[in-house]
């Protein structure tokens, strides 16, 4: 007798309670990627199961928290992601690789989307092409780092192009008297690399910084509006390129 598979949606409850394993689980996860309704439902059901967990709360044995704090001190944390990749719960084995590729694609998409608004100006078209060259360069390398005052920066750099593209998410807005300024930091003196534009939907940039030299570090500071020739405040982001 052939057992008919249940419709994917009906497995949402089981999935939300980790009651799927093996092929059942991977099949449902693939379904989740395509079914927004189920993804929404899972979100809500997991809030419900969370209450089941809280209802079962029991004081742990003494020393357990202390041991966890010690173990954490010896554990590296994962860097934040800027793009909306799969949540931790999705348990895909190639998450890191997929996220890196998706990240570059997102930055490229951002560059196109953000630039399409400015497409009228020829100068911006040139910049748009320059940004695309960096993103699609064969030696394009992506880095992400938290900004100490808030937000996350993503940088795609190409040694061949001697340029990088900078994007940030979640940068706290500044008063009109201040601006974010990028720097190429090198032994001879820090070179201004452009001021960040205002955020659009929480995203800042992309900004192209060219004239990269080997050994440069990328810096970000908060400067008076209009920028400064040299950094006047401590860096809130520093990246070795």
């Amino acid at each position: 007798m052939r057992i008919r598979r249940p419709e994917p949606h009906t497995l949402a409850g089981a999935y939300a309670m980790d009651a799927l394993e093996g092929n059942d689980e991977s099949r449902f996860e693939r379904h989740l990627e395509r079914c927004r309704q189920c993804a929404e439902e899972i979100r809500g059901l997991r809030e419900a199961t969370s209450r089941l967990a809280v209802a079962a709360a029991t004081d742990p044995p003494a020393g357990l928290i202390g041991r966890a704090v010690i173990a954490a001190a010896q554990t590296r944390q994962l860097a934040p992601l800027t793009s909306h990749t799969r949540p931790v719960w999705a348990r895909r084995t190639k998450l890191a690789l997929t996220a890196a590729v998706a990240g570059i694609a997102v930055v490229a998409a951002l560059a196109v989307a953000a630039q399409s608004v400015h497409d009228q100006l020829q100068q911006d078209q040139r910049q748009s092409r320059a940004i695309a060259s960096v993103l699609t360069a064969r030696d394009a390398a992506m880095m992400r780092a938290p900004v100490s005052t808030g937000g996350t920066a993503t940088v795609v750099m190409s040694g061949r192009e001697h340029a990088l593209v900078f994007v940030a998410k979640g940068l706290p807005p500044l008063p009109p008297t201040r601006c974010y300024e990028l720097w190429l930091m090198r032994p001879g003196g820090d070179k201004p690399a452009g001021m960040l534009p205002g955020p659009r939907h929480g995203m800042t940039g992309p900004v192209l910084a060219s004239g990269l030299r080997t050994g440069d570090r990328l810096g970000l500071t908060i400067e008076p509006a209009g920028g400064s020739p040299r950094p006047t405040t401590a860096t809130i982001l520093q990246l070795a390129l």
């Binding site: 008919r4 497995l11 089981a14 009651a19 969370s50 967990a53 209802a55 966890a68 704090v69």
Partner: protein, 199 residues
């Protein structure tokens, strides 16, 4: 940021619950930036639900402690990956915890078929009453679980508090897998709506 230990176990009204949710989310943000004091505060906040859930599923005390350690370290390690747009901080934590607990027992269960038959006579939704200290959350959940049909309640309890897969539950109860998955889904939806969970 100090959390009031006594208010956690005494009754909490909804407003206080929301404040705690905000606190946890803010603390987790700090943890993401490497703040170990914030991590300790997060641990104090979540250790009860994490240990209670893990203990319910794993049962064995030393193993439960190990799993809880793993979960807390995972919360530290992945704090930057918590996305507040996708759900509450507690849901994020308890999802990790339940997953780890279930992973721990599954490999053992695969070779312990006899346990399934023995367990079939010991199903009760009083698992919540057994393991939980008196708290308002438990009361609310008990009340809402009562609004489920007994079959739905049974399916949800076996899956969540015992960590069985839906196929194992179907085998335990002698019903079709599809029937069980429907009960699980309908039961959770009813629970969600009764608790007034915001998606």
């Amino acid at each position: 940021m100090r959390l009031d230990e006594t208010s956690r176990s005494a009754g909490l009204d909804l407003a206080a619950g929301e404040t705690r949710a905000d606190e946890l989310r803010a603390l987790l943000c700090q943890v993401a930036r490497g703040d170990s004091d914030a991590f300790e505060a997060v641990c104090r906040h979540i250790a009860g639900p994490v240990f209670g859930t893990v203990r319910a599923v794993v049962r064995d005390l030393p193993q439960s402690e190990e799993v809880v350690q793993e979960v807390l370290v995972e919360v530290w390690r992945c704090a930057s990956r918590f996305d507040a747009d996708r759900g509450s901080a507690m849901a994020w934590v308890t999802t990790i915890a339940h997953r780890r607990a279930v992973d721990r027992v599954r490999s053992e269960r695969r070779s312990a078929e006899r346990e399934l038959r023995a367990a079939s006579h010991a199903i009760a939704y009083d698992d919540v009453a057994e393991t939980a200290e008196a708290n308002l959350d438990a009361e609310r959940v008990r009340r809402c679980l009562r609004s489920l049909t007994s079959l739905q309640r049974e399916a949800v309890t076996l899956a969540y508090y015992r960590g069985y897969t839906y196929r194992q539950v179907a085998a335990l109860l002698g019903v079709a897998a599809g029937t069980v998955s429907t009960r699980m889904r309908d039961g959770l939806i009813r629970l969600r709506d009764c608790l007034g969970v915001e998606p």
